[in-house]
Subunit: 241 residues, 4 copies
């Protein structure tokens, strides 16, 4: 089992990588869940400096959103995290991001379907939460849980995305993949009709690769880059190519 101290550091690293890659900034938050202790570690809310965040900056809350530790309380949209952690054993990590490209699919009237091999992991779809409101109540959180089902990610209309994973490595990789896929979809759309991957192709691809291994490699890659990033306000955006 990972110690809380290690979890805090992993959460901080994950968040700084998201900041480096331009997926988190003024808004957005990431959490990780300790199921035995029923304890959620979550990044602080709007306006915290994600590019410089440390493990000791994390807020600890329980599943009812009660602050247990940390300065300033959790982000106002904490029910996104607590609802998913409580409902799904495979959602030990959750990211809510206003990522620039994935969010476009919460605006355009066009269903998400994967256009790149890596995004095969979203082959069963990314549903859209249509209510044009922040998710601030457990009731809303439950509706999100229901909408999501067993899927990996949801789009929040006119707002952003939610990505879940069994650990932070998986959430990081899945979020970067979704961002890359949606950017390419948006850009390729100006060239003409998009060639989507079929559900069969997605399943075949997923069966063929070891997601855990790929997620770990991606984590190590971006963690290495983040370690030598100068943390200038400009994102240190590293190509996902």
């Amino acid at each position: 089992m990972t110690s809380e101290s290690d979890l805090r550091e992993q959460l901080a690293t994950c968040t700084r990588i998201f900041a480096m890659q331009g997926l988190i900034g003024l808004f957005g938050h990431v959490s990780v869940y300790e199921p035995e202790a029923k304890r959620v570690l979550i990044t602080p809310g709007m306006g915290s400096d994600k590019a410089m965040i440390r493990g000791s900056d994390m807020i600890a809350i329980d599943l009812s959103g009660q602050a247990l530790e940390g300065k300033g309380g959790p982000p106002i949209e904490w029910p996104i995290h607590t609802s998913l952690h409580a409902a799904r054993a495979d959602a030990l990590a959750v990211a809510h991001l206003h990522s620039p490209y994935a969010t476009l699919f919460s605006i355009a009237r066009r269903e998400f379907r994967p256009v790149t091999l890596q995004a095969a992991l979203f082959g069963n779809g990314v549903p859209l939460y249509t209510e044009a409101k922040l998710i601030k109540t457990t009731r809303q959180g439950e509706r999100l849980v229901e909408l999501l089902g067993d899927k990996r990610a949801a789009l929040l209309r006119a707002h952003g995305i939610v990505v879940v994973g069994k650990n932070l490595e998986e959430v990081l990789f899945a979020s970067l993949v979704l961002e890359d896929d949606t950017r390419k979809a948006m850009q390729a759309a100006s060239l003409g009709e998009l060639g989507y991957l079929s559900l069969e192709e997605c399943r075949a691809f997923d069966a063929d690769i070891d997601l855990e291994r790929r997620a770990r490699r991606a984590w190590n890659y971006f963690a290495q880059l983040e370690a030598r990033w100068d943390h200038q306000p400009g994102t240190g955006y590293s190509t996902f190519a």
Copy 2:
């Protein structure tokens, strides 16, 4: 009441943040008004180095555009600022920007409507000033005031935008929100039809949030980033995500 010295520093900070985020550069100017003294503090005109601007660089003018203090006189389009400061008690701060994405809506024949939750504050529209000229006379300034009515922002055809607020924090936040919303609208448009927020949804969102608090959080966030920005010519563009 804020001292003029503090106002000058706030105006400088606001302008440097706009420079960092790529919303101001060769062109554009920002002003703040002291209603008791009927005194306008405004950034210098075309070609001043906004990324490095200091409080002592500001120009003080009266409502007729007369220079009271500062080197080089006000920007040639000072009537944008004086007209709005004089006409609206809720326009104590005014920004005129050639911001890259919002300006697109002054070019394309397509009315602005919000596509993101944050932009609910522009729910009652952003009208278009259609005259293809710089705004250099008080007569033009008055037409802008009339066009704007009680709205927060206007588009200047083939030119840029004007954003007003009750203080610099509000103008900064509103300008960044408008830029982010228009960028997303432009990009999402290549994916298909846009899903706008309805007026009702905008009103509900606005009623639900505390704009002043959000604007202050955004200000503090970007001021913190600007403080550690290396001020390289390349904008230090920080994600609004």
Copy 3:
């Protein structure tokens, strides 16, 4: 009259600014003409490091392309420059650029028309040189001169642009304006039909402003930024906003 030493420094500054702004890189060249001496100073050809160029790196040639001074000879497309310098008294400075956005109008089957006020100076059009070849002969140079007439710029099909001016300040400003206008046209086009400026509006705008003064202000602005640019390979792209 400007000394050759000063002209060399101005040419170097102009080129470094173009590099900073991403308008010149592996390709592209800029020249300035001394009419009394019938001597052309031109930047070296493909592959020279424009971001670091110095006055002493310039090549001097005569109007027949004969190298008079400097290492490595002139760029292979020197006839672009000599033809225009010889034919037009108001073309004392000439830039040939593969600028990323203006070049798009040499690819898409769509005529250039200005969409921003500053681009009123291109109100009488930017003609297209349709031959899909480098311009390596004086014969081709003459065809370019004929095509250009009294206009400020031409598009070279599938290739780039040529911009002329009575001095380097004017060429710098006009090139940056054209790039900014074409970028906005391209991006706004995804939002819908473009609202062009009419010829009358362009003429009225041009009559109203002092191009020389604006060009000098832009020069001073970008020269100041270039002086503090760290010259990293990434362009230091400063917003034209």
Copy 4:
């Protein structure tokens, strides 16, 4: 003949330039072949830090993919490289890249055709490998060889590109040209119909230029820039203009 030590350094330089230009990152690999020794030098697989890679990091394999030297074995898609090196005497260097713009043509249902003069070298087309799988077997590699024929590059559906050349300079130049051309095609497409180069125009352009000389100049240019790059995670993207 180039020594293996020199080949390793060239391969490292080429890869760092690709990283600087944003064509390689988490994914992608580049190889060079020593035909006498039937030995392939290839960059390590997913997650290696391409921006910092050194000659000593390269993996040596034989044509059956057997590791001869180096830590961690070759990338899983080694058959891309071995198949092409074995089959074509003019494919002594091979790059597999997830380059951001060229990859769009593997997604959109639109055939690649050149829109810029430099891309005349792709005048005979860039075929599409349609199988939505990684290329992990020699059988797949052979299908790629067959598809490619005598062409310079192929698109891998929903995945990336493969570029071959008689040396690393040619592969670097061709890859950068393809990326630049596809970026311009994508952007120009939002302005309207694209004006392609005809096959005749491509042939005439290619006959007229000295590819080897241009590739060497481009190599020297980017190597010089890479030498002064600060290697920050953000790509040092230098304009191809």
